[in-house]
Amino acid sequence: MSELIERYVGATLRSIPETQRTDIEAELRASIEDAVEARIAAGESIDTAEKDVVTDLGDPDRLAANYTGRPGYLIGPDLFFDYKRLLTVLLITVVPIVAVVVGVLEAIDGGDVGSVISRAIGLAFTVAVQIGFWVTLVFAVMERTGEKTPAVEWTVSSLPPLAPTTGEIKLGETVASAVFLVGTITALTLSRNVLGLTADDGALLPVFNPAMWNFWFPFFIVVLAVEIIFEVVKYRKRRWTWSLASVNLVLNAAFAVPVIYLLANEQLLNPAFFAEMGWTGVEAWGGVTVTITVAVIAVIVSWDTIDGFRNAKLAG
């Protein structure tokens, strides 16, 4: 047998289990030799004949896979959809939670913005990779060992309900938002003269830094008032649009960004108030309160903004 044929047979047998090897080897050799003989009889040279026969048989790995019946894929069509759904759900829920928790913990630990973001992203990435790897591995094993039927038979009751698919703005939503905004304005206004502690000398120590009233709190009240008007405009328009979603983004940013900035610079809260209460360092950047507040504001605002755009997309 020539070297070429030896190499080919060897390459094919390499991925075939011991038990089947001798039988397949004998049969394959005989078939190759027969084919080469036939070509030589038809006038080809030995070398061309061997080359042609082996080329015709093709990639030895594929031939071996055909012999052993191994699937040419990692996860087949039977299991693929369950796999995809599970992976998606896990990634969408676990990764953001991990990112936020790690970010918050890092901030509490005294990290600056850069390290908070890098740690959050770093760990989120690691977690995502781990989830992807293990879920894929489990399904690949299932593909090769067990039952191929999907875990849960699909029935009509598995259909998701008709979600708000039109991006419509309902009256209930608008009223609730308006009430909430009015409430916030009221609370802000009251906070100046009512929400606070009386100090020993009878003066009021408000929760919020009194200096805020020079500019920022009036600014916030204006923004909130504009948001009320915006809610009414949204309702009148009946549906979300891209421009409405953009305005929503701007208004959210106009409120959230300064608040976070002021919290970060320890200007929003009144240190005297907390000193009077006996809590030290509450208003400090890196403290638990501030970090959690910032995280919550960021999450709520992001969610609201994204939701606006999502609805705009649904409304076409």
Partner: protein
């Protein structure tokens, strides 16, 4: 005006798909008389059944595993050869597949002529 061109690869793919199911039936029928690897390939080609060597050889082993073929090594000749024969189960299956095939042929011919079946 639309000019639709099917490239050769697409046509080949469709033809391959069309032939795929028939190879099994052809093998079961032709092996009612014992045959071996390369010789079988030749016999099938002569009668017009196109099949690749790298599909046929593994298929023979698979069918034997499923009990549709039986095999025997013939060590007499110059070269030891594994001869396959269609088993009783294989013959039975071939019968069922054949009737189904003829029905389909009839149906397709009717459709081709433009009549309802």
């Amino acid at each position: 005006m639309f000019i639709v061109t099917y490239d050769d690869a697409q046509v080949e793919a469709h033809l391959k798909e069309l032939r795929r199911g028939s190879v099994l039936l052809a093998v079961l029928l032709v092996l009612r008389k014992p045959g071996y690897g390369y010789g079988l390939l030749q016999r099938l080609e002569e009668t017009g059944v196109e099949v690749d060597a790298n599909t046929l050889y593994p298929m023979l082993r698979r069918l034997e595993k499923q009990g549709l073929l039986t095999s025997e090594w013939d060590t007499d000749g110059a070269r030891p050869r594994k001869y396959y024969t269609t088993s009783d189960d294989g013959v039975q299956l071939a019968g069922k597949l054949m009737s189904s095939w003829l029905e389909m042929t009839r149906a397709l011919e009717d459709l081709n002529r433009g009549e309802s079946g």
